[in-house]
């Protein structure tokens, strides 16, 4: 599903965010990308949803070389990918419903389809009773659940999450992880960047560790 070949990303001559990175993530896999701040986790994720282009190397998503696609095709790539951020990135002036519907409206889906899918997605994350609230009226955990609903409502092939539980306590983080695991169980490939070792110890999955923009280990637990 995701293939990286000798990917290097540098912002300045003396600053390399990713260095000659090659890896492959299969369809339906659940992968942690771990590493300290500045290890290159966010840069890697940003390149996967084409927010940045690599300085060198190739990236293939679902067989499509995204380092060569034009700007006009990027939106269509992103429709295959759901993204969840640490700071949720919600529209605070819009209702919960509108925030989730936004992703479908942006893809030009019909109104009846939008309302049906939004309700299903919010039910999935347990927020169907808060449709008309605004994000600021909800807790951090609930806000992250809206963000996850927004990412999942489009039935993405890949779900990218950048420190999704970074601002949440352990109990809420566990709930959030449950949502990712359920999405993964339905076939969505999940790539979750985190610097929290507790997270992958509690829910062991394939763990790619980055340091200084390079893969230092690629661990696959036997139980998975």
């Amino acid at each position: 599903m995701i293939q990286l070949f000798n990917v290097t990303k540098s912002y300045r001559k003396d600053s390399v965010a990713l260095k000659d990175l090659s890896l492959e993530i299969g369809k339906g896999e659940f992968v942690y990308v771990a590493g300290a701040s500045g290890a290159g986790k966010t840069t890697l994720l940003r390149m996967l949803y084409a927010a940045e282009k690599p300085s060198r190397g190739q990236i293939l998503i679902d067989g499509q070389n995204i380092t060569r696609i034009g700007r006009q095709k990027i939106p269509y790539l992103r429709r295959k990918i759901g993204v969840v951020f640490q700071d949720y990135k919600l529209l605070n002036s819009r209702s919960v419903y509108e925030n989730v519907a936004f992703a479908l409206e942006a893809q030009g889906k019909k109104r009846y389809e939008v309302s049906k899918k939004v309700y299903q997605a919010l039910k999935e994350v347990g927020l169907e009773h808060r449709l008309n609230r605004t994000p600021l009226e909800l807790s951090g955990g609930e806000q992250q659940r809206i963000a996850i609903a927004r990412a999942l409502v489009v039935d993405p092939l890949i779900l990218l999450a950048d420190e999704p539980s970074g601002n949440l306590d352990q109990a809420v983080a566990t709930e959030i992880m449950g949502l990712f695991r359920r999405a993964n169980a339905r076939g969505t490939t999940v790539v979750l960047a985190t610097h929290d070792p507790g997270l992958y110890k509690r829910f062991p999955r394939r763990l790619i560790s980055l340091d200084g923009g390079q893969v230092v280990s690629d661990y696959r637990p036997d139980t998975v």
Partner: protein
């Protein structure tokens, strides 16, 4: 398609409702800019109208400093009448000139008490055919008149008309330059005001790009919003222009003009009013477009 259009319009209207202050700032900026340009246009158009009017009233007057003998006068009048440009020749005697002067003074006619009736010179007022009421070709006519009415003063207000026409040319050029500059400044201000509204909504733009919205999908509601703001700005400018015209321009002309009824100011005709409003729409769309180009990076 209709569903999408409806969605775009709803979003544009919602954005405007959501940011009423910024929306009002954009509308007002466009209204002020358009009003300034349109007011200047009105001034130029009316001054041009005035010049054309004055050109049409062009009349040549031959002042008979020394009264010619009746036979010489008859000969002179018939020679002038034969000229192709001339429609009518009226002989005004010194007494008639004095009577006209007295009439013009109205209540102050008493000032002329004791003044001789023949103190003013007699004259020949030469009216021209409509097609010759212009300065072109006037020199040739004057040259012929000078031979017929040799030794008499010939006037047709050439000097001031020429000066006035040069003034109008300068005014027209200034109008073009200033109008262009004002429009450019308006576009710049509108573009920046609209950009401010976009900055306030950059999260929305970022999230839209993130969830797979195409550039067209992101831009269309903003362009519609710009067009709507431009429409309101244009209508507001038309209203302001009407008020300026009726409340200021007409009043100024009436206070300056001795006979206001003789000269009515021109306002924008229906076609020009449409252009003004449509100009607002274009200004809004271009303002949005230039801002969006810099802001949206998918």
């Amino acid at each position: 398609m209709l569903d999408k259009m409806r969605y775009f319009i709803m979003r544009a209207l919602r954005n405007m409702r959501q940011w009423p202050f910024l929306c009002a700032a954009s509308v007002l900026t466009m209204a002020v800019a358009l009003t300034m340009v349109a007011t200047f246009f009105l001034v130029v158009v009316n001054v041009e109208q005035l010049t054309q009017r004055w050109s049409k009233d062009l009349q040549v007057v031959v002042y008979l400093d020394r009264a010619p003998a009746p036979s010489a006068l008859t000969q002179m009048v018939s020679s002038i009448r034969e000229m192709a440009e001339v429609a009518q020749v009226i002989h005004v005697t010194p007494a008639e000139a004095m009577a006209q002067f007295r009439q013009r003074l109205g209540e102050n006619a008493a000032l002329l008490q004791g003044v001789d009736n023949d103190i003013l010179p007699g004259s020949l007022e030469i009216a021209l055919h409509a097609q010759y009421q212009q300065r072109d070709g006037m020199d040739q006519l004057l040259a012929r008149l000078k031979t017929v009415a040799a030794g008499h003063d010939i006037h047709y207000g050439q000097d001031w008309l020429e000066r006035f026409e040069s003034f109008v040319s300068v005014l027209r050029l200034t109008g073009l330059a200033l109008g262009g500059f004002l429009l450019f400044a308006a576009l710049f201000i509108v573009s920046n005001t609209i950009r401010l509204t976009f900055y306030a909504r950059r999260d929305e733009l970022e999230i839209m790009a993130l969830v797979g919205a195409t550039e067209r999908f992101i831009k269309t509601p903003f362009l519609l919003e710009g067009a709507l703001q431009g429409l309101f700005g244009g209508l507001l400018a038309l209203l302001a222009l009407t008020l300026i015209f009726k409340g200021i321009l007409v009043e100024i002309v009436h206070s300056l003009w001795v006979t206001p009824a003789a000269f009515s100011l021109l306002f924008l005709n229906g076609h020009q009013q449409l252009i003004l409003v449509f100009g607002g729409v274009l200004l809004g769309v271009f303002g949005s477009l230039t801002s969006l180009k810099k802001l949206i990076q998918i």
